[in-house]
Symmetry: D2
Subunit: 481 residues, 4 copies
């Protein structure tokens, strides 16, 4: 069937899933007022795919004639990855800086697992790749909303999974298995949009040792599977903890089961895709930040002030640098030789994530610096309708006929939302912490080449072929004795 309408989608997730929020069970996720935001973000993906203006961009007709969401199609070229970026940017522009909630993270999980599975199959002769592609087909068929479960609760982070104290379930693990499938137990956190997803892709979150082999598990689980409990985060419930209380997973949905030496491959490939997705939607958030800063300068009469212009320029640099680095990760992408899968340039996608996450608090500081204290001390917008205060508000908070009190109050209120706590923390941690990017960059760097070039400059011998190819036309900085 493929391509669901919004209504079909909503109907499809009224399926007795076990969801909790703020201490209570949610009987129907589509009806719970606190979950309305999440539901809208999920519906947005379906609405966009149905919209004639966006259909060509966001959907694709398969050779068999079936129309599916484009993001399910395996990426094979720069153009495919770039189109994925455009789809994310469209939904995130619609969503005020946040991408649609039905497919954003899950797809990166599918593609990440697909690539990792291919590599594992090649080495071990397993058939994980085939299982994954079958699951991919299933997702196309039901036009699935897919979420991604990676981060374990971890317990004491100084200890390996099998060394944890108190109990053995701080990392999700296989508690039993037979020919039909496996039973898994554990809890994953930060599992965005799961309460409105059909499927969850489950991955390990770290490298494993031999003793941790029961923790080397990847699979796909329906959100309404028996034993799955989705405990929403306080407030909007969009990023729940998901408990797997002895959940059975049939063999055809298992993509890793004990091959501990390859556990890291999956989060690694997922992250490569997902850091780029993050960079992509982040640009749409940063556009808003730049725009809000520009409006602030305009609405405060500060557009000619040199240090304000400097700060606005910095924000442009920050936003456009994020976009440029994201594009570079695609335009210089890498290819899996055998399958032809395209994946973002690992170094560049990590640079892109680090670039925006590491400087986000600086951007907030600049925005708040331009904004002035009123952003914190703004009277309620309800005063605009209070006959006793309304005139004062209009008189004193407006600037002139063009820039009214209401416009400024709206802008100040928006700045508050832009800089809410959540933003900074999410920016640093979503799609992997700064430490994760540093680690990847350190590991992936071509140290041999870097060092060989430095040795040449020092007059220290090196056999590196790239260095040997350089003619000696210029005196080395440190002379050879």
């Amino acid at each position: 069937m493929a391509l669901k309408t919004v209504e079909e989608y909503l109907e499809s997730i009224r399926d007795n899933r076990e969801v909790y929020l703020d201490g209570k069970k949610v009987e129907d996720v589509t009806a719970e007022p606190k979950l309305k935001k999440m539901v809208k973000y999920a519906c947005a993906d379906y609405a966009i795919a149905q919209d004639p203006r966006f259909r060509d961009l966001s959907t694709e007709t398969l050779p068999g004639g079936e129309r599916v969401h484009f993001v399910f199609v395996p990426p094979k070229s720069v153009e495919d990855l770039m189109r994925r970026r455009e789809i994310i940017k469209l939904s995130a522009r619609i969503g005020f800086g946040l991408p649609g909630g039905a497919k954003f993270t899950g797809i990166d999980g599918i593609n990440g697992v697909a690539l990792a599975a291919k590599r594992i199959d090649r080495k071990l002769g397993t058939d994980y790749s085939a299982r994954l592609e079958k699951f991919r087909k299933h997702c196309m068929d039901i036009d699935a909303a897919v979420s991604l479960c990676m981060t374990d609760v971890k317990g004491n982070r100084a200890l390996h999974p099998h060394r944890q104290q108190g109990h053995q379930d701080y990392y999700l693990r296989i508690v039993s298995s037979n020919d039909d499938g496996i039973v898994i137990r554990g809890a994953k956190v930060h599992i965005s949009n799961t309460a409105v997803a059909h499927e969850m892709v489950v991955l390990p979150c770290r490298a494993m040792r031999k003793e941790d082999k029961d923790y080397a598990v990847a699979c796909a689980v329906p959100a309404n599977a028996k034993g799955v409990k989705i405990i929403g985060n306080a407030g909007d419930g969009m990023h729940p903890m998901v408990v797997f209380d002895d959940v059975f997973v049939p063999t055809e949905r298992v993509f890793l089961a004990g091959e501990w030496a390859y556990a890291a491959e999956m989060p690694y490939m997922f992250s490569t895709y997902h850091r780029l997705s993050a960079d992509t939607y982040k640009y749409t958030e940063l556009e808003l930040m730049v725009g809000a800063a520009g409006l602030l300068a305009e609405y405060n009469g500060l557009e000619k002030v040199s240090h304000i212009c400097d700060k606005l320029a910095w924000l442009v640099m920050y936003a456009e640098g994020t976009e440029a680095l994201g594009k570079a990760a695609v335009q210089n992408c890498e290819f899996d030789e055998e399958s032809g899968y395209a994946y973002p340039n690992t170094i560049y996608s990590n640079v892109a994530k680090f670039f925006f996450a590491n400087q986000y608090h600086e951007a907030e500081k600049i925005l708040q610096d331009i904004a002035g204290g009123l952003v914190s001390t703004l009277p309620s917008m309800a005063e605009l309708n209070n006959p006793a205060t309304n005139e004062y508000i209009r008189k004193y908070l407006g600037i002139n006929e063009e820039i009214t009190a209401e416009m400024r109050m709206r802008l100040f209120r928006y700045i508050q939302k832009l800089c809410a706590y959540h933003s900074g923390n999410i920016t640093v941690h979503a799609e992997g912490s700064l430490a994760a990017q540093r680690l990847t960059l350190y590991r992936m760097a071509d140290w041999d080449r870097y060092k060989a070039l430095a040795k040449r400059a020092c007059g220290i011998d090196t056999e590196h072929p790239e260095v040997l190819a350089l003619p000696n036309l210029i005196d080395a900085p440190v002379k050879v004795t």
Copy 2:
């Protein structure tokens, strides 16, 4: 009478003041649930002064035998200023990083105006200083809660007060005057704790030109004076906009009225005192930030991780640097020759404010980096009482018997509050923006001396006496030809 009990204080502010919040009039500020936080912070100052453990620190017996709050006594020594710091720190430690709400800002206004008035009197032969001291005595007598009104709404910031478009009231001004007093009109913003104050000290917020002379006005106004409208900021109402709708101020309460050339003196001296007060309470907030970070490392099992230790050390540097700079501003304070008033070292108190405000977002980043994503995605604490989820929460979010899920959830919840939007913005803007500190530092710097020392190093002649006194024992970096 002096020294009010908490009950006497609460009774004293039920006085028909005109307060608005979230679009509605507040009939009794002491009874409005949304204002409870502000009321508690104001009461704290009275409770502390009554507490036998803190009475010696926070109160003083006047020569006439009357016991008054110490902060009303004019500071005359390093010890006086240091004791002011200790009083602020005590109330701010009690208040989880925020000082008591009855006297914090207003006192700096009284002392700032006092010093500025002395200088003006000396030059112009006015008697503002005597009026101010009489007002000070009145505040002692009623054990007043005092707030401070400085920041005007400003309209178009690129324009001078008298050049504003639309209306002439973007900066508070004198609209008429006679022998009995003056009538003022305008609106001030960020006027902390005014809804529970007895008195407001009103100051100009900038230097004025001759054409702006009606805007050069300072005075004291009761919070319940006719024409005063206090419009609370959305939420807790602690930092309202205060409208002066043609408020009459009797002559004895007027401290500046048209002497435009001296307008800047008042905000300048107020800021000198208040930046130090800010630095003082900020230390108690930073103690909590350091402590929370230390607990995070402990509760996440990260205490031995090198980059975490580095970050904790940075936070210690940040907190203790703030305290050290604040102390330095007191220990190297300046004295008004004639009156003997002590005031903080201007350069150092600005360095202190800049130090903590400029690095606050970096500190938030570090805190969030250590915290991990759970701070954003934490389930509600209500799950601890939900029979359906409670066991999962305890099992998966606790680390061991010592560090339970509840403890970690409390800590994560606290981090959210510490890093709420308000903090960053308030830190940058309260007590003057970063630009204000830069401006002060630029203006107050001893450029003659700095440049003369540099000229000596360049071999360029200079007549500066400090440089002439230096013997030529070492070759100048740039040789004299």
Copy 3:
């Protein structure tokens, strides 16, 4: 003839040019020991073009069969710009982080003037573009070394060119003109490699007003023209001041003469090309910095230290981010519609320059932090040959048989050179200061779009087409009343 050999090139610049260094006239630039470095960097470009391994990359056969240096060919595609990058990187890798000295900056001048001239011709009907292309052909014919003269000495920077005090020549200007040509007077600074160039491309360095029209001048001048005096900077003479003491320029070499409104176009287009060239060679310098840091960690036994790995990762991020942004500026380049000229994406090339220049001092700090104090206090390498100390040096400064004292000393000595004063200053100022990038970013930013997106989030009306095209699927952050 085209393509000169190194010997032909050297012979060609022994042409009675007037060059001064350290207070003395240089009779033969190719023989002056202090200028040896500059000469080698210029020769390198000729040697590379002759090298069979690099000929295909660095040269091109014209339709007429003539073989010319590729950089003279007008860039018309992403591939052309990318090849330009590869040529720069090759020569800069050979040159230890500095590109070859014969064509690096001048080419960007030719291409920048070419594009600006086209735009001016289109508007004014002038024939500057044809003159420029003729000059380009001349450069191909003589395989010219070309330098670029942009920055005027400026005098008092607060004053416009025609308002300068003392004399009128702080910016280069036309002092007279007739049908044959113009006579120019003034001085340009930072004119890299001019003492070994054949030709100089001369541009204005800023926007001009009507009264400044005599200063709106661009042209090409031979380095040995009468009246040209090249005064080398102290030391290596590579970045001289060039004085134009009433130099005659024939009409066919004049590319702008009084069209003040278009003066800014030339430095602007030159900068667009040149910031990318800068980003390109800077990557080869940063490779060396990363490599040197990696060697330091290895040679000091610090490779497993967590905070050292973090710093190395940061350096990788810095180097690879510079490369990625440079590539993005090419891969997303812009095209002049009429002529088909390709030029780097303006925003991205400025982001790239800002990215590396703004963080260079941080990189130096990190490098020095890893290096340890020995980099400053290293004994002379001559001690390795001193029988009295040689054994101590080998014993105490080596680590083991693999990492000898000599290797470490070479590395430390190299770090000194990498971090010499020149590097930081050059990095900040070459190819335009940070302020220049900020200004460009501020001016080129699509503020309408940014602001319109922010207005949508605030619930403020906007007619921007891109915003109108976004469906309302998600509630706006600030609700529309």
Copy 4:
């Protein structure tokens, strides 16, 4: 005798010491041209003490009537430490930002060892303290120039002293001992001014384990002792490596010999004193930096440019913050109970060092940003005397009659020297690297108190007395259930 004249001092160091520089032996350090700078800095200390204007500040009459240099007197009060600061500042202002070379570091060594020795004696019953005080008296008697040897060459930094490979002397150690004394072997680096010192105070540079006990050694050694080889750093020789090739040290000069558990005490107490000394002279360097920046703005006509003023303000903040933190470390100093010795506040002196060292590269960037490219591309000052170029130079590099070309050239030349490589590296590493300050801050922080305050805010129980003393007047941020 005490107090030497400059001539007496020079005579006293012509004593057959074994000094090497740039591969050759130096026969007479007072006659070697390359060492002239070091000699002048050492002589300065003697000249100042003889100068009637500075004698009261820099010298003290002992109870017995003998006049000695004040810095030899044990510090017992805030005033003593502050006077030490004034003496350092005087000599460093004379020395263009560098303190005098005869006593600067050595005194901190004497005082650091004195305090550590007192603590060790108290615990172990040794008599090291008495030996040290006898040595102190000897230094007073001969008005000694004293240097300090702490940093070992370290070999592989990942290995403990006794685990080093190749040889056992990467850390200085006792190779034999008998009743008369000990014999030491090893090499120390960065030993400022040793070639012109009379005495060296030798300390371990790190904590030791039991197996490292031979490395736990502190003592005093004459610079001309047999077996001492001073190998100057390349260039000015001021910071040599000192080799101890089986040097005999008589028992009365030994201050630690095998008490491994106390090894860290000595570098720790030395650092506490020395980080403050560093902060002190650094202020005089930063005054020059601020002054040079101010002159640059003036000489470039940029004094009214907003972003330049911001940068100047930042430099003022940086310089005065360094001074304020240094003062705070003294004004809040600590006292050794038994001996009454005063020593700087450990936390604050580390904050001060970190503050200036961590931001130094930012200051350089700002200075270079203000300076413009001419600082790098300046013609030689010899052109001022070249008849062929001299007029051009004066015409184009001067601004007007007040600000001549020569003045600007002198200033630009000075900026080059201020930002030379050495400065940045020295600033980061001298007196302990940034990592050393972080470590000290992490270790010395009162974590119990910080954490207890955070627990109170979280509603988690704590028994900390300071927290128990705080009344519950305000609701805790996280409510107690």
